[in-house]
């Protein structure tokens, strides 16, 4: 017994080391992007304020170009609103815009937009997240799509705290989305390989897709994060080649924006997101039968 205690006394530092590493490895192995985002969202209540003020200074220097871009965007939107208003007025069952809220309640309006400012943004990790200055109290909820004011894909909201939210950036090796070449309906799956913050890869694009270097790549429209008719830009084809099995094309896409320089974003909420995903998972779990309602779980 004495010898055992003596032995443990001699190697307790090693034991302690193994124990700490074991716990840390377990935590790391069981962490998902979601737990990571949750931690950031929580600690941001402390760190966020400071990050916010530091970013305020940085933000000041890019105000001019941003203002110009926003003004342009506002002008574009005004035109669209005007066009839609005319269309609405012309149609027989025209509804006044003051009734927008009731339309939303009835499920006739599917998407809602909101502006937010980036207060912290990394691009030099393999799993990058962006922190925004708006949280649940401003109406942000997880799974909102995120784009730049000029319509380039940024990511989607992974977690929210009261005043801040964390976006899983397109520069995150866990991020997956689908995209297509403008003018072609065939869809490829887009992911970041973690190599360059200026490029993402599109795999499994049909070999019949018409593709040329410089072609614009946009969101596929089947995503639940972005409106189908919105054409969220992703980037431009930089190069492409057949994959090893010669069955599809692998495309390298140069991103349409330098994510490190973005400081304002627009959030898009899909009111139907939960309904669609619940229905999909119900079908996948086999708890949905045709003709019947979704079985509550």
């Amino acid at each position: 017994m004495y010898k055992l205690i003596e032995f443990i006394r001699r190697i307790y530092v090693v034991l302690l080391f193994l124990m700490i590493e074991g716990v840390a490895l377990y935590a790391y192995a069981h962490s998902t992007y979601y737990t990571q985002a949750k931690i950031i969202a929580h600690t941001n209540s402390i760190v966020g304020g400071l990050q916010n003020s530091i970013f305020g200074v940085k933000h000041y220097f890019t105000l001019r170009s941003e203002n110009e871009m926003l003004a342009q965007r506002v002008a574009d939107l005004e035109t669209q609103v005007e066009f839609l208003r005319e269309q609405q007025a012309a149609s027989a069952d025209s509804v006044a815009y003051e009734q927008m809220d009731s339309l939303t309640a009835q499920g006739l309006v599917q998407y809602r937009h909101m502006a937010a400012r980036i207060i912290s943004n990394t691009t030099n990790r393999t799993r990058n997240f962006i922190t925004l200055n708006k949280g649940t109290m401003h109406g942000v909820i997880p799974n909102m799509g995120v784009i730049t004011p000029d319509g380039v894909m940024v990511g989607f909201v992974a977690a929210c705290s009261n005043r801040y939210s964390v976006v899983k950036s397109i520069l995150n090796t866990d991020f997956r989305t689908s995209g297509k070449i403008v003018g072609d309906e065939r869809i490829g799956s887009i992911a970041w390989s973690g190599k360059s913050p200026y490029r993402v890869e599109m795999n499994n694009l049909s070999i019949y897709a018409e593709i040329e270097v410089g072609d614009e790549v946009i969101s596929s429209g089947v995503s639940q994060y972005f409106p189908p008719d919105m054409k969220v830009r992703i980037g431009y084809v930089e190069s492409y080649k057949r994959n090893d099995s010669q069955t599809a094309n692998d495309v390298v896409i140069r991103l349409a924006t330098d994510l490190a320089k973005v400081s304002n974003v627009i959030l898009i909420e899909n009111y139907d997101y939960n309904e669609v995903t619940e229905l999909e998972s119900a079908v996948q779990n086999g708890s949905y039968s045709t003709g019947g309602a979704v079985t509550p779980y």
Binding site: I20, Y28, T43, V47, S120
Partner: protein
Amino acid sequence: MQRYLSYIGMFIGVVLLQIFLLDNISLGIYFHPLIYVAFVIILPLDMRPVWVLLLSAVLGLTMDMMTGMCGLNVIATTATGFARSLIIGFTSGLNTGVDDTIPALYRLPQKNLLTYIIMMILLHSAIYFIMESLSMAHLFHTLLRVIVSDVFSVIIVWYIVKLFIEKILNK
């Protein structure tokens, strides 16, 4: 007492420097200097290993909480803290003194101090980047990240250590 306060100050200093300055510099995927390990480097060389281990774990945990990494910083920092005594033995062994005692940080010759800093940073960032990518497919790419980031880390940590020895320890 003042000595403890200066170490606490260094702890807070390197954590803030890492989070608010270096993590906010975006110069591409290869540039990610991890300088907070400077705190483990400046701990007294003759400190008991169990304390070094515990303080490294606390430092790693703090960084994890601040950056949402769920254990990655603890893994890298604790391993570095654990290997520290071996690295110190190796670097001070390069310059065999008259007795076998470990010299204080400020008594290490410049060359040995630099070797010590390089080995600590290299070990820490190698574990960090390999665990972060968790893929052998990008091994070359990970090695490049370690090398590029470490060149900057070593330069920054060298000045932090110098500043600590000269201005705070007044040696």
